[in-house]
């Protein structure tokens, strides 16, 4: 069995970091998560996951520039590492392989790789 080392929530957060690019910091990610999934979350929960992903090496972060709307405080901007991208790809491939093995869905989802 392939070890993806990504949970569902982790996977979504990782993807959101990729989608948001320069804007990927905890608050924005949490907002985006809520608007895309219609599920509620909290900044703390998102932040906790981001930290975990960083520890696993899927993300790296650095402090961005200060902005006035945050009372002059800086943001921590996250970016996906190559290893992180690989983990996402592996996860996707694993899912697709599973989908394709399931006869009921196998014909409808015929992604070319």
């Amino acid at each position: 069995m392939i070890e993806t080392r990504l949970g569902e929530f982790e996977e979504v957060i990782l993807l959101l970091v990729g989608i948001l690019g320069e804007e990927a910091y905890a608050f924005r990610i949490a907002e985006e998560f809520e608007s895309q999934t219609k599920r509620s979350s909290s900044i703390g929960a998102v932040h906790s996951t981001l930290t975990r992903l960083e520890e696993k090496g899927f993300l790296k972060s650095e402090m961005g520039k200060a902005t006035a709307e945050r009372g002059g405080r800086r943001k921590r901007i996250y970016t996906i590492t190559a290893y992180g991208r690989r983990a996402l790809e592996d996860a996707r491939d694993f899912r697709i392989s599973l989908w394709s093995q399931y006869p009921a869905f196998a014909k409808k989802f015929n992604y070319s790789i």
């Binding site: 608050f27 907002e31 703390g44 906790s48």
Partner: protein
């Protein structure tokens, strides 16, 4: 956000602020704020929380615990004194707390506690206003009918506890109970086990307490069963109620019977016989003052002219005041003895606890100075100050907790015995959270206070100073320790003096001649109608057994002063005060053992003796007749002429009321009727063991329906001293405890000083100091401190005890000897305690002390 890791603070705060303003656009300020806090709470996650600087704190705490435990074990004696002393202090405080709680919770058992009151009346008696409870039946009926809007209910209850024989075929029991109106069951919210509260509606019914019902019927259903009362009435059991707890008004009753049965056809509209208590329940939205002011003059239209002139007022005394606040003087409430006792024991309990705490702190503090090296080393290998504070506080709280657990055990063991002494029925409130909260709260506070000195003071030292040995404990701590020792011994010595004086007072009253001989005297209430007309047979048969010297009758017990009458006059001169009057049969004097100073007893041989009287010494003084024997007195109580009586004899004063009061003038009449109280003088040559069965056999044969329920007159006589004896016993126990606590403290303290001066003493001995020198050196300070305590305690206790004695008319004088003895005892105990350490240090080889460095 203090909990947040420092490196996260900036970004997180930024994020949260952004979220807040974003929310502010969408929602209300309140919602935004609420959400902000929600977000903050969500940050309580392991990754975000500040880590404490040490990596593995568990081992550190384990080491603290280990060191603390070793310290306790290393000095077992010291630890035992310290923990034991505190435990005893807490136990005493808990016991007294329970006692006070019991006192304060009187009558709270009744559901309508807040709205029930008793009717009191105020009468003018010779320029004094007298408050009293017995009322006329007419007032109760009046309140019931004409003032019915003021009250929820009005209940009349026979004022005295009545003694009746309740029997179910062969089972006969003498029981005490009250006769009350049927509404009483509801008013006093009797908790019924069987039947209904209003069972007394039927004249021939009775409510039994659960314990009597069980005695009579066992497991069987008692409802509607027929029992007999005094072999006179057959009445139906209408209900069984749960026994009333000890701390309620009617706890001494084991049955309630209808007042109607007691009256047996008599009118409840009479205005001359004061024999009832009237209880009322007011409406919840009314106050007692309001209703009192409405009924204030209710009795006036019904009184006779003379009484109306002098005035009478009635008022309601609320149930919540009954137990602790029912002492009236000149019509006003004054502090009652019960209230004083609550204060006294409260103060004593607080003192004992305080002493124990002082001791605990003193010893902890004194000993912690020995641990300054440990503090030095801990600091030099990198202990933070806060860690040391934690360590010492934690340790002393732990020790205090051990003491608390121990004290719970002590209370558990001592409670039955304490209940016996205090005449109460208290239990540990295991399920009361307030009890635990205060106990644990107190323990933690004591622990904190005791630990605060080492925790805050020792931890502030520079390690190098402590380790080099130049560290000297501050002078402040030794001064405060001295003050505390003085305080402890002042309390102890005062308590010793107080105890001795209480006991002297009891002895003084006990040694007072009784005026009759209660010993070997049996009393029996001949209530059953079966006794009627059998007195002479009973007398001859009892005397025939040889076990009885004589028997006699009177209208009430020899150990009480129930009858009061005025209206005596001699040669036109009238006497104002009420005389204690008693009606007796022939042979009464011989039976109870009256002591004749002059004249003679009633005699069957002299026919005119039916119009004779005996008077006591006080009465002779009151009448002021030179040679009273043979003089004629006129008696017209309440204006109705009752004839002329010749004084036959004068007897010594008899202590029938309180033994601490002057004997009241008393007049003894010869009764022409059958009286209720039977007295039997047992033959002193026979042991009671032999005599009683013979006496009982006669009673069984002649009056089979009445139980042979006799009492010893000396038991009743001794009961007069019980309240004071209780005070004495409790005071004795408390003073023993305080002495114990103070001495154990002193013992440990002297051990500590000796330990501290070990090297000094070693050098002194090396230079040739003798054992006496060392002893003087070590004991002098403590000796002086105790001396000062004595000097403070003597005037203090003298003042307190003379004001205590003031309440007794008949009181002992405080002799100087008491103070000298108490002070001597305190100094003696101190000497023994301190000398033990002094000698131990004194005989030590100097080299032992000096070899260390």
């Amino acid at each position: 956000m203090r909990f947040l890791r420092d490196d996260l603070a900036e970004e997180v705060l930024g994020d949260l602020e952004e979220k807040f303003y974003a929310n502010l656009h969408k929602k209300s300020l309140r919602a935004a704020r609420l959400n902000y806090w929600y977000q903050v709470l969500q940050y309580f996650r392991p990754f975000a929380i500040k880590k404490s600087p040490t990596i593995n704190t568990f081992d550190m705490y384990l080491s603290y615990f280990k060191i603390g435990w070793r310290n306790l074990l290393k000095q077992k004696g010291y630890s035992a004194i310290n923990i034991g002393g505190l435990a005893i202090g807490i136990s005493v405080a808990i016991l007294i707390g329970l006692w006070i709680h019991d006192e304060l919770s009187y009558n709270k058992y009744f559901e309508h506690y807040e709205t029930i009151g008793q009717i009191y009346r105020l009468d003018k008696v010779e320029n004094e206003t007298e408050a009293s409870t017995p009322q006329v039946a007419g007032l109760g009926t009046l309140l019931k009918n004409s003032y019915n809007t003021q009250f929820k209910s009005v209940v009349m209850v026979r004022a005295m506890l009545e003694e009746r024989v309740i029997a179910l075929s062969e089972k006969k029991f003498t029981q005490h109970g009250y006769f009350m109106q049927p509404e009483g069951g509801d008013m006093f919210s009797l908790k019924m086990k069987h039947g209904s509260r209003d069972g007394l509606k039927d004249k021939m019914s009775i409510l039994l307490s659960a314990s009597v019902a069980e005695k009579l019927f066992g497991e069987a259903d008692p409802i509607n069963q027929i029992v007999s009362m005094d072999a006179k009435w057959d009445i139906k059991v209408a209900g069984v109620y749960e026994d009333l707890p000890r701390n309620t008004r009617f706890h001494d009753a084991s049955f309630f019977a209808p007042l109607e049965l007691y009256m047996d056809g008599g009118s409840l509209d009479s205005w001359d016989n004061y024999f009832l208590d009237i209880y009322v329940q007011i409406h919840e939205n009314r106050s007692f003052e309001e209703v009192s002011s409405i009924i204030k003059n209710a009795t006036l239209p019904h009184l006779d002219e003379e009484k109306r002139q002098s005035g009478q007022e009635v008022f309601i005394h609320p149930m919540r005041e009954w137990h602790l606040n029912s002492e009236f003087r000149n019509g006003h409430l004054v502090t009652s003895p019960q209230q004083k006792a609550v204060w006294l024991y409260g103060v004593i309990g607080a003192f004992v606890l305080f002493l124990a705490c002082i001791n605990f702190m003193n010893l902890s503090t004194a000993r912690s100075e020995k641990r300054s090296r440990e503090v030095g080393i801990r600091k030099s290998i990198g202990s933070y100050r806060t860690q040391l504070v934690q360590q010492f506080l934690g340790e002393s709280i732990l020790v205090a907790c051990i003491a608390f657990v121990l004290s719970i055990v002590i209370v558990g063991l001592a409670l039955p015995w304490f209940n016996f002494i205090a005449d109460k029925n208290m239990t540990i409130p295991w399920t009361n959270y307030l009890f635990w909260l205060s106990g644990i709260g107190f323990t933690i506070v004591t622990g904190l206070l005791a630990g605060s000195y080492p925790a805050l003071y020792l931890s502030s030292f520079q390690p190098v100073k402590v380790l080099k040995g130049t560290f000297k404990p501050g002078i402040g701590s030794s001064i405060s320790r001295r003050v505390l020792v003085v305080f402890q011994f002042t309390v102890s010595v005062s308590l010793i003096i107080g105890t001795v004086i209480v006991y002297q007072q009891i002895q003084y009253a006990k040694s007072r001649p009784a005026g009759y001989s209660p010993k070997g005297l049996l009393s029996l209430r001949a209530g059953s109608p079966e006794f009627r007309g059998k007195y002479d047979v009973l007398r001859t048969q009892l005397k025939a057994t040889g076990a009885v010297e004589d028997i006699a009758e009177s209208n009430y017990s020899v150990t009480s002063t129930k009858g009061w009458n005025g209206g005596f006059s001699w040669k036109g001169r009238t006497y104002d005060p009420s005389f204690n009057t008693i009606f007796v049969s022939y042979d009464y004097g011989r039976t109870v053992g009256l002591d004749f100073i002059d004249g003679r007893d009633f005699s069957r041989e002299v026919a005119s003796d039916t119009a004779g009287i005996l008077i006591n010494e006080s009465a002779a003084k009151e009448f002021g007749i030179e040679n009273p024997v043979g003089e004629l007195l006129k008696w017209a109580p309440g204006g109705s002429d009752r004839g002329t009586y010749q004084i036959l004899g004068v007897v010594k004063d008899m202590i029938k009321g309180s033994p601490y009061e002057q004997t009241r003038p008393s007049v003894i009449f010869l009764s022409r009727n059958h009286e209720q109280w039977l007295y039997v003088r047992v033959n002193p040559d026979l042991s009671l063991h032999d005599a009683l069965p013979k006496i009982e056999a006669v009673f069984k044969a002649l009056v089979p329906s009445a139980p042979f329920d006799f009492r010893f007159a000396d038991d009743e006589y001794n009961a007069k001293f019980r309240a004071e004896e209780r005070t004495g016993q409790l005071a004795g126990i408390f003073s023993l405890l305080t002495i114990f606590i103070s001495c154990s403290g002193l013992f440990a303290l002297s051990a500590f000083t000796a330990e501290q001066r070990k090297k000094e003493i070693g050098i002194r001995k090396a230079f040739g100091a003798s054992l006496t020198d060392i002893w003087t050196l070590l004991s002098r300070e403590f000796f002086l401190l105790v001396m000062i305590s004595c000097l403070v305690a003597v005037p203090l206790s003298y003042y307190a005890m003379s004001s205590w004695l003031e309440q007794y008319q008949y009181r002992t004088t405080i002799s100087m000897m008491v103070f000298i003895l108490a002070a001597g005892a305190a100094l003696g105990i101190t000497m023994v305690t301190v000398s033990f350490q002094a000698f131990k240090t004194g005989i030590m080889k100097p080299v032992e002390a000096l070899k260390q460095d």
